[in-house]
């Protein structure tokens, strides 16, 4: 039985990849992931051409700020919104969900398979983007400086931490949007609500801050940014009440498991009635 489940999950992964992520339809995810690379690459190219010396510490700080502000809150948020919300709602809008329901696949396996497909795609694309941005940020520095940072400084641990934070951002936002896609006929309303909630998270009381994904992600970021950003943006990157990384990781994994169970229960009861959508 387990062999069959794994084979079915593999088949679902293959289906999703072919349908979405390896087709023209998935182009927007790649564009979204790569567009933050533009200013970093531009900065490196401009500094190299002009021979303008940059401050390593300042650039590290800028990267930390932009990672929180742009990568987590915009790129990964909207990327996961588009990827995971479409896993079921998109099939309903395309009127192709019934093909999955008419296959000898348990609906729970279908949910797991689709979630994994979205997660693998999101993690691969956005983590690659994070790493490329990191490389682009430091590309114009002398290799000696970069190697010192990597080997003698905290370079590797910072890079790994950024990658891990991106992974958990995909996990956290992915499960949240999988759930909204399964529960709501028009998930854009709850998505807008989540966007606002995540946006005002920094201004909320401590107890309410814990009910958000970004709160735990900020605890995983390796550097507390010292932002030079404008006032409202600066507040978005400050972490006034961090939790230990272990708590953040375990919490998000537990949350993801809970969400998948709820989504599976919802999909199990789902009916095909395209006329109302």
């Amino acid at each position: 039985m387990k062999t069959l489940w794994f084979a079915q999950i593999a088949a679902i992964l293959q289906l999703e990849m072919r349908k979405t992520f390896l087709s023209r339809r998935g182009l927007w995810v790649y564009l979204l992931a790569l567009f933050p690379l533009i200013p970093f690459a531009g900065h490196s190219i401009e500094s190299t051409i002009r021979g303008r010396p940059c401050d390593f510490g300042h650039d590290t700080n800028v990267y930390a700020s932009i990672f929180q502000l742009l990568d987590l809150r915009v790129v990964v948020f909207f990327g996961c919104l588009g990827i995971f919300m479409n896993l079921f709602r998109g099939e309903v809008l395309d009127r192709s969900l019934h093909y999955y329901f008419l296959a000898p696949v348990r609906r729970e396996i279908l949910v797991v398979g689709k979630y994994l497909a979205g997660l693998i795609a999101a993690v691969t694309i956005f983590t690659t983007s994070t790493i490329l941005q990191w490389i682009a940020m430091y590309a114009h520095f002398p290799s000696r400086t970069v190697l010192d940072y990597l080997n003698d400084g905290n370079g590797w641990s910072h890079l790994i931490a950024y990658a891990v934070t991106t992974v958990f951002a995909c996990i956290g936002y992915g499960s949240l949007f999988l759930l909204t896609g399964a529960l709501f006929r028009n998930p854009i309303f709850p998505a807008a609500g989540i966007l606002i909630w995540e946006g005002i998270n920094s201004f909320l009381p401590s107890i309410l801050q814990k009910f958000s994904v970004i709160y735990y992600l900020k605890s995983l970021v390796p550097i507390d940014a010292q932002p030079n950003l404008e006032a409202p943006f600066a507040l978005l990157t400050v972490n006034t009440d961090p939790v230990p990384a272990v708590v953040a990781i375990v919490g998000m994994l537990a949350f993801t498991l809970l969400v998948i169970v709820i989504a599976a229960l919802q999909v199990r009861r789902m009916e095909i009635n395209y006329g109302t959508d």
Binding site: A11, I12, K19, F101, L102, E271
Partner: protein, 315 residues
């Protein structure tokens, strides 16, 4: 083996979409062979099909498909294939990819899936177009690729929602022949169709639906025989229809006799077909020349007219 494990059974099944009735108190047993669901738009044909395949949950009642509940898709869809009415496909797929990809969900290996895919595509004669995108297919081709996808895993129950929709006459004949051959192998085939003369041609039994209720079910002739309030119509071709009319009117069971427009036929309505046929035998023996005697309303079209045609439109 219990009867339920060989049939498709609906037991007091109702389905409501909020306040709107889908089907109400449907109790049916569908045996092997070709069963047609016939009824006007909105009568509940697709609802019944979606219920038996688990795409809808019944509000009340239970359903069993060869002893398997639709709540167990992992068992049910190994033996059931459903060709739905939805003319939509996963985007960007070719015909081959469409059949192959969903076949892999059955746990088939690549080699098995490829073999079954090509077999199904060959059966519906789409080999040349298999590697073209479905979005570029004609309506008939889309219908055929759906048929291929629903039959590729060799099901023993086939549910087809208007399968002949959009097919040209040649392909229709081929599909009908295919369905007949599958039924002869012992498959359950459930079809919904509006093309009543084709339903007549291919069906072993018929289920008539109207406004969410089952109006009649069974073999076509059996259903017709139970409609006592509708006198049986018999078309008789003979050389002297007027003389024949005078003779048959002597019989109490004959309620109407109408001359055919070409003057060589007589359409008789009788309340007692068996006695009437005996009468015809006697008349023939007494020298009245009869060229042919054919029931004129012993088909689905007439059943539809009698049982459903006089009612208000469903919705």
């Amino acid at each position: 083996m219990s009867a339920d494990s060989q049939n498709i059974v609906f037991d007091n099944v109702s389905k409501f979409y909020g306040d709107v009735l889908g089907v109400n108190r449907v109790t049916l047993t569908i045996p092997p062979g070709i069963t047609s669901l016939v009824g006007p738009n909105g009568s509940g044909k697709t609802t019944l099909m979606n219920l038996m395949t688990g795409l809808l949950q019944p509000t009340r009642g239970t359903i069993g498909v060869l002893g398997v509940s639709p709540n167990h898709p992992e068992q049910l869809f190994r033996q059931l294939g459903y060709c739905t009415q939805f003319d939509s496909f996963p985007r960007g797929f070719t015909g081959y990819q469409f059949v192959y990809s969903f076949l892999r969900l059955y746990g088939c290996t690549h080699a098995e899936a490829e073999e079954f895919t090509w077999a199904a595509i060959e059966r519906v004669k789409l080999v040349e177009a298999a590697h073209r995108k479905i979005a570029g297919y004609s309506k008939g081709m889309r219908q055929r690729i759906k048929l291929a996808q629903s039959t590729c895993h060799g099901p023993s129950v086939l549910v087809l929602d208007e399968p002949l929709n959009g097919l040209d006459p040649l392909v229709r004949a081929e599909v009908i022949a295919l369905l007949r051959s599958l039924a002869e192998e012992g498959m359950h085939i459930i079809i919904s169709s509006h093309v009543l003369h084709e339903v007549d041609m291919i069906s072993d039994q018929v289920v008539l639906l109207s406004n969410g209720y089952v109006i009649a079910e069974g073999k076509i002739r059996g259903v017709r025989g139970e409609l006592d309030e509708q006198p049986m119509q018999v078309m008789i071709r003979c050389g002297k229809p007027a003389s024949l009319a005078a003779k048959v009117f002597e019989h109490d069971s004959v309620v109407e006799a109408r001359m055919h427009s070409d003057g060589k036929g007589l359409l008789v309505k009788t309340r007692d077909p068996d006695k009437f046929y005996l009468l015809l035998n006697q008349l023939a023996l007494n020298g009245i020349g009869l060229e042919s005697v054919v029931p004129a309303d012993d088909d689905v079209n007439s059943l539809y007219e009698y049982l459903i045609g006089g009612e208000e439109p469903a919705r």
